[in-house]
């Protein structure tokens, strides 16, 4: 049933982000776990990547595009995409956070479709850089996409990788930053200010573009063109809303960790289905 969300002509249907959000809410509620706001924040980015951008002839094709969810705590959005693609079935997604499941809060490499595990912030970009270098050395047509959280840019290793990627002119590499302005203890500007993030990436030698992280058309266009800048890696700074689509979660710090009660779940689901919270 979920296949219908992919239109098959390379365009993201309106239903795809909604389906991802619905699965996020259902599974987070069933498993009684948090990180809901972070997953909702990237639902549209994931929809565009898996619905339109990533070239994945098969999950083992060596030349397939690589995607690394460096902000691994939003893995539920990834599992939702896998469910919609039919890579995991209903029974499997219902094991999310259960004993012996491969579907934990952070993505495990053992789950087919996950090229690299994540969960420890600040590692994904370096690995993506290696993948991009490998693509260049092996004359592969692959592109590499790495999705980072904004607070992840607190990690020094991100900037090691950023320097390296620009120095080696990795124009097959695209970093996506989920700029929702929030981290565990508060707003990023209060915890460890990232501003001006665009200028920081520019100064590191990247092609920088800012985009509405909830506008699928704009995201698709930006990701499609991101590699058109020869000799430079590209970063898309995606302006997003933490908890996007659920009014009482949007911009609210506690939803970094909190699970939902029955009433909150019902309301959240209603808002996602009706689109009221968007």
């Amino acid at each position: 049933m979920f296949q219908s969300n992919l239109t098959g002509n390379g365009r993201v249907s309106d239903d795809l982000p909604k389906s991802i959000r619905r699965i996020i809410l259902e599974q987070a509620h069933r498993a009684n776990v948090g990180h809901i706001g972070s997953a909702l924040s990237i639902a549209d980015i994931i929809a565009v990547l898996y619905g339109e951008i990533l070239n994945l002839p098969s999950r083992r094709d060596p030349d397939r595009d690589r995607f690394i969810l460096s902000k691994g705590h939003a893995a539920l959005a990834l599992y939702a995409a896998f469910r919609i693609l039919g890579w995991i079935d209903e029974e499997k997604i219902n094991t999310y956070c259960c004993d012996s499941s491969l579907l934990g809060v952070h993505p495990e490499h053992a789950l087919p479709g996950v090229d690299f595990c994540s969960g420890s912030l600040g590692m994904g970009l370096s690995i993506g850089v290696g993948s991009a270098v490998g693509g260049k050395l092996g004359n592969s047509s692959r592109r590499v996409f790495v999705l980072l959280s904004d607070a992840e840019c607190n990690e020094g290793s991100v900037w090691e990788a950023a320097m390296f990627a620009a120095h080696h002119r990795l124009d097959n590499l695209v970093a996506l930053i989920d700029l929702n302005g929030q981290q565990a203890f508060g707003k990023t500007k209060d915890v460890l200010d990232l501003h001006p993030l665009n200028k920081k990436w520019e100064a590191f030698g990247w092609h920088v573009r800012e985009v509405d992280g909830h506008d699928c058309q704009a995201l698709a266009q930006a990701m499609g063109k991101a590699s058109a800048h020869a000799d430079k890696p590209a970063v898309l700074i995606c302006q997003t809303t933490f908890g996007k689509g659920v009014s009482f979660m949007e911009g609210q710090i506690p939803w970094h960790y909190l699970p939902m009660n029955e009433q909150q779940f019902a309301q959240a689901l209603r808002e996602i289905e009706s689109g009221d919270g968007q």
């Binding site: 060596p62 590692m123 370096s126 690995i127 850089v129 290696g130 993948s131 270098v133 050395l137 090691e160």
Partner: protein, 307 residues
Amino acid sequence: MRNAFARTIIDLAAMDPRIILLTADLGFMVLEPFAQRFPERFINAGVAEQNMVGVATGLAEAGFIPYVYSIANFSVLRPYEFIRNGPLYHRLPVRIIGVGDGFDYGSAGFTHHCLEDVGLLRMLPGMTVVVPSTPQETISALYQLKEVSGPVYFRLGKSVNALPEGTPFDSMHLTLFRPGRNALILAMGGIVVEALAAAEKLQALGFSCEVATVPSIQPPPLGQLIEALSRFSVCATVESHFVKGGLASLVSEIIAERGIKCRLIPFGVRTLDDVRSGSVAYLRKLHGLDCDSIVKRLHSSLTETRA
């Protein structure tokens, strides 16, 4: 051992186009021949070891065999989590070269004294840990472990020592340098020279010591270790490493798990109270790892045991 690596990696790369050499800006006057021969497969990642290991992880997943090179503390301690979550977890063939066996960079100070690398990596299931004691063993290990599917760590001494060429590397075997009857001395890496000198002096004092190294710390040559430990009532371990986590820990685990009746006398670094810079000889003496310190302590134990 470092120079043996620098020569051998060229030969290996000539045979295998998958080999890439990455350095975190170390190896000046050592790695240039490789860089000149294979410029497209030599990457100076800059002084950024975490990223170097992350890049190696991505390269290995793409089908390459990356060797990452730095002074041991910088290729192991700084990017330890990248090693754990990268090549170890994904079982990728990343080769980690750690130069500097214990106090090899003695005058460089504590930041360069490598004393816990083996312990940290030996803890990780699936990590191969190799500490050769001669250039020949280094070359042999590099060849033999080329195709291992998971990560491999090579702790390579920088100093030149006058050891006789031993047998080729074999992960199933100890490298025997000297047979003996009264005590077993097991050493890790180039510091075996102190153990051999100590054995010579103890011989003159009436005690015959067998001296061997354990080049494959993980997986260890379990059968041979059990056999050797079962023949002696006293075993000394000698290592340029903290006494916890390295060779002494490996041997004590085997003694305890197998119920072997053998007393362990560990020679290793025990304290940070005396952090000093200095030559390898000075620092070994300071920490009781030189020939005379080994003789004194072991002679006392052996005399006690004999009485």
